[in-house]
Symmetry: C2
Subunit: 232 residues, 2 copies
Amino acid sequence: MIGTLITSDTLQPARRSTDAVYAQLKQHILDNRYPPGAQILESEIAAELDASRTPVREAFVRLQQEGLLEIVPRHGARISALSPGDMREIYEVLMSLEPTAVELLARRKPDRAELAGLIASCDAMEAALEGTPDLQAWAAADEAFHLNLARLCGNKRLAGMIMQVWDQAHRARMFTLSLRPLPVQSTAEHRAVVEAILAGNVERAREIYHEHRKRGGLELTTIIERHGIQRL
Amino acid sequence: MIGTLITSDTLQPARRSTDAVYAQLKQHILDNRYPPGAQILESEIAAELDASRTPVREAFVRLQQEGLLEIVPRHGARISALSPGDMREIYEVLMSLEPTAVELLARRKPDRAELAGLIASCDAMEAALEGTPDLQAWAAADEAFHLNLARLCGNKRLAGMIMQVWDQAHRARMFTLSLRPLPVQSTAEHRAVVEAILAGNVERAREIYHEHRKRGGLELTTIIERHGIQRL
DNA sequence: CCGTCAATTAATGTATGCGTTATTGGATTC
DNA sequence: GAATCCAATAACGCATACATTAATTGACGG
């Protein structure tokens, strides 16, 4: 058990069957339990999760809109597989939205208390790299940082969009985690963004973050090309 | 009849009942036939569109994810009403995404033929302002320009996100159309962006567009405040 | 007269059945 | 032997019936 996966949804007890099916399906997709490209059937999932086809169908629709699967008429649903082109799209979107989120947050001039979550994530990232590196822990802290940042920016639509593409790229990030160099610089960049925000330097915060995202995208693209990965 | 509304969807004959219900519901919401804040019932819509509740429900889920309505458990659906805060959010998102779309398009160095749609929209906007201004025609051309731009940028995810928030703001734009000054400058800015793209000046294209969006957002915000509009 | 509780009703949430369609496999013919 | 056609089956799309829940109304008690 790697630990409870952090997702963009606040997972509740889910009194509605549809919500439970949705949450579990999403979890399974992000956990790579249903591999990319896999076909899943409404009736299979219904039996597996002890529900009828109706809530499963509704969950499929929601997940399709989130880009995590594709409903193929008469063929069930196909778990989305990301091509290198999809990864490029995702990073272009993040390079646009995340620096904006940083800028919005920085403009609010938040105090240290408001950024406690971000600072904790920075601490966790640094701790994960001390001694024997714990990449899983680092990735969890990284994810927490970005989700927190999206939430703090004060724009729910912006936050939702960031989390959506972030979820889409989740598996790819986890997969390439061990193929990348140790994320020492990445960790430092996170810290630098927080400091720039605290210093009230809006433009610098935005700039650091944009470079951070750009470098991250480049790293991932390089790995994908070097390994000739076509789908993930 | 004002004319067929341009939406982000390619409206097909819709062999599936769900698609037909979805398309008509969306059309009615954008046309302001269901006013913001209105409650609609599954059974009402089903009867109205001659379908059963099942496809209506599925359409509700899709429209909820697009932010056009909100499913209230046990209470049907409420048509989304935009607060001034929502308008701010939407313009922040557009100010982030649309300049990125322009940049991506400009980097491809497209020739004049590729931009034919954009140029036609510019012509239409200018024509709509000659003699007696036709604001409806101008708005249609403006909408066509932005949708086209999103499509041309080469990033489907980015395009989808732009169209989504654009649709959310559609009614607000139509409502404030007659309250704004004649969009002469706006029209000129559109033309200038196209010229900058053709000239291969990526940075300038992005900059013009960012200013265009910023000014547009400011105009709208001012109107909303001046008229004390709370919901639209 | 007001407040509270219970019952009824209305609308959603879920399950299931039926019709449609597409795919696959087998058989027949060229 | 290969290709085509037909039939059977499997899965979905939609409709409908049933269960659940929340709200509203009315009655009763304080």
